[in-house]
């Protein structure tokens, strides 16, 4: 542990590592916060589809504008990701195909089309296209100060929007029909929130790449959910987990050869998930196991003594997740 912090400290002096770590941290905050909405609205795989779908947008932007400027390429990515989200909505509305099918379809077809375009781009005489394939697996090492500032700017804007529309986004995620009866413009809010998720995906492409982006959205949110029952806390924690994983992953990847940054970040954040699933109080699996053991002991005690021990009811804890199988049934009680 101490060794790790020492290496963290010494590597902080290195400009590249510092930029990568900062970039990863910024990405972690953005994707962690916005990923919460994706996970709560059961759109966890939307990020995966959108990140794959972004590829043709990036290449097309490059072909059209002939520039490697990150801002332009990311605008292309955002447009394509947004188009994929729109198509998902309209295909599921107009056919009987299920959402998962349409996600898989869009993901692979968009990506395939992106590869076709990429082949065109690679035939261009300029050598600049070499930078395009970095989006496949992400190339954190190419991140410079300006990129970090761009990411931070975009991220700050996204977070401000989340804060401004806090109660609207919350109600939309929990009960959209009810939100509509209160007069909230549900469609518009939906488009807005989806666009923010597109932003998070796009920001992450350069850092972790197309394939691993979905983990950056899903993992911090899942981990954070285990520690709290409040949306606000969940968002804060997810942002924190994302940032920590970003920094740890970046520093670890710099510590030895062959540890790619994207995968190291994903493994860091996934370790946080594993730890949370196991050890989070009240929801964690280990906690539940202990709870069951204690209940069993109480039950044994009660059977031996013909009575329950004073002030310790033989019951599942009141704050355990309810078991749907034992939900009250009106029919059964009559």
């Amino acid at each position: 542990m101490l060794e790790f912090f020492l290496s963290l400290w010494s590597s902080w002096g290195d400009y590249t590592i510092r930029m990568v770590a900062l970039g990863a941290a910024v990405l972690g905050v953005i994707s962690g916060v916005l990923g919460c909405y994706a996970v709560l609205r059961r759109q966890a795989l939307l990020g995966d589809a959108m990140s794959h779908a972004a590829l043709p947008g990036i290449v097309l932007a490059y072909l059209l504008f002939g520039t490697r400027d990150l801002g332009i390429l990311l605008l292309g990515a955002a447009a394509a990701g947004w188009l994929a989200a729109f198509l998902l909505l309209s295909i599921t509305r107009h056919t009987h195909l299920k959402e998962d099918t349409v996600l898989g379809l869009l993901l692979s077809v968009f990506f395939g089309f992106g590869m076709v375009l990429l082949a065109f781009a690679q035939k261009q005489p300029t050598a600049a296209q070499a930078g395009l394939s970095r989006f496949l697996f992400g190339q954190a090492a190419t991140v410079v100060e300006r990129d970090v500032l761009t990411m931070a700017g975009i991220g700050a804007l996204a977070l401000v929007l989340v804060a401004l529309f806090w109660k609207e986004f919350k109600l939309l995620s929990f009960d959209p029909d009810y939100a509509a009866t209160l007069g909230l413009p549900v469609r518009l809010l939906d488009v807005g929130l989806t666009s923010l998720i597109v932003v998070a995906v796009v920001v992450g492409l350069q850092m972790v790449g197309v394939v691993l982006m979905s983990a950056m959205l899903v993992a911090p949110a899942v981990a954070a959910r285990q520690w709290t029952d409040r949306l606000g806390t969940m968002l804060l924690l997810a942002g924190l987990f994302g940032a920590v994983a970003g920094i740890v992953g970046a520093v670890l990847s710099a510590s030895a050869r062959g540890l790619s940054t994207g995968p190291m970040i994903v493994l860091s954040v996934s370790s946080i998930v594993l730890f949370s699933l196991l050890f989070a109080p009240r929801r964690g699996l280990v906690w539940h196991w202990f709870q069951r053991q204690r209940n069993a002991r109480r039950l044994r005690w009660a059977m031996q003594h013909g009575d329950v021990p004073p002030s310790v009811p033989v019951m599942p804890p009141a704050d355990a997740p309810p078991d749907p199988r034992i939900a009250e049934q009106k029919g059964a009680s009559r």
Partner: protein, 369 residues
């Protein structure tokens, strides 16, 4: 056979092999499992390679298939804790295994032919050069042999367990009461998906595996609802996309896998727009036709409901169609005209009456009345 023909044959065989399990993935709402499995098989291949140090070892194949099953089991394990929903579980599991695979490659197998670009895209164009020989006789490209084997395996499995699969897909509870063991079938299907993904992965890369497994069945599902038809139609569409994609790639000189995936999308869009019953065009056409029929029905039901009521004079007038039904004056006039022509409504100054035929129509639609 020229190598060009061989590439096409390989692509067609793999497309057909992918379409078969794909149909069940689409019907069982597990399409994204193909996304997960096609990415994680890399993990199995890498581990297999690190153990054997031989890219041709059958252990790699076994490892990849086992990883596919591991992926599915991990997703379900997470799902069963009720702490994580299924879609999030998929989104958690496959990046982890993929990340480990990428790191293992770059750390321990960096100099070997296992680069990550090929993982996503495959190298179909080179497939004919990897040939299998037996006692000096050339048996053909390895990818073709493996692909054909998997295709036959899939055909055999689905042929044998057709009715069990059908029932388990459409009514798992009933299948269980018949003793069909839906869980066992489920995992068998996942083994099939993994085997197919591994076989296809080598030649066409993970993304095209998803395209070939999901897009043709999705397209076929727009054209038919019968499982049998859907199966052979998916194979047909998959093969057609593969061949069309090959030629597109040849003409444009671009990635074969990418252009095949693009063609599966093109065929899907074709079906989405022009499917005879379900396509957007057919639906729009039917809508306009039904709109008039529906409006006339609505008119007779309205007149019938208010016949004999206290507000009859008010409700059964041309003005009420605009005021009460919220029809535009133009639309109301047109509906009325059509209804009169069809002899279901009689108009008499500012009152509308149902004819005998109209009354029958009104009583025939819906319940009660």
């Amino acid at each position: 056979m020229t190598s060009q023909q061989e590439v096409q044959l390989i692509a067609a065989v793999i497309a057909a092999a992918c379409a078969l399990p794909g149909v069940f993935l689409v019907l069982r709402r597990m399409a994204m499992m193909s996304d997960a499995i096609s990415h994680t098989v890399l993990f199995g291949i890498v581990v297999g390679f690190l153990l054997t140090r031989d890219l041709g070892s059958p252990l790699l194949f076994l490892g990849a298939v086992l990883t596919g099953v591991l992926t599915v089991s991990l997703v379900e394990l997470l799902n069963q804790t009720r702490l994580v929903k299924q879609d999030a579980a998929i989104g958690l599991v496959f990046p982890v295994l993929f990340s480990i695979a990428v790191i293992l490659i770059s750390r321990f197998a960096g100099n070997v032919h296992l680069d990550t670009d090929a993982v996503l895209l495959g190298e179909l164009a080179y497939a004919p050069f990897d040939r299998v020989e037996w006692q000096g006789i050339d048996l053909g490209p390895r990818a073709l042999l493996v692909g054909s084997g998997v295709l036959l395996f899939n055909l055999g499995f689905i042929g044998l367990f057709y009715k069990e699969l059908k029932l388990a897909t459409f009514d798992p509870a009933l299948a269980a009461t018949f003793g069909f063991l839906p869980v066992l079938l489920h995992y068998s299907l996942m083994v099939i998906v993994s085997v197919t993904a591994v076989a296809a992965f080598d030649a066409v890369g993970s993304i095209l595996v998803i395209a070939l497994m999901i897009a043709p069945p999705a397209t076929a599902y727009l054209l038919t609802e019968r499982l049998g038809t859907m199966l052979w139609l998916s194979m047909l569409i998959g093969v057609a996309s593969a061949l069309a994609g090959y030629w597109l790639a040849w003409v444009l000189d671009v990635s074969i896998a990418g252009s095949m995936a693009t063609m599966t999308g093109v065929l899907f869009v074709g079906a989405f727009l022009f499917a005879p019953e379900r396509g957007l065009v057919a639906t729009a056409h039917r809508r306009t036709r039904q709109r008039w029929a529906f409006a006339q029905q609505l008119l007779v039901v309205h007149l019938h409901n208010h016949a004999g009521s206290s507000d009859e004079a008010e409700e059964c007038s041309p003005a009420a169609l605009h005021g009460h039904l919220r029809w535009s004056p133009d639309f109301a006039a047109q509906v009325l005209q059509r209804a009169e022509r069809n002899g279901i409504v009689r108009r008499d100054a500012e009152r509308l009456w149902l004819t005998e035929q109209g009354r029958k129509l009104a009583q025939g639609t819906g319940v009660g009345g």
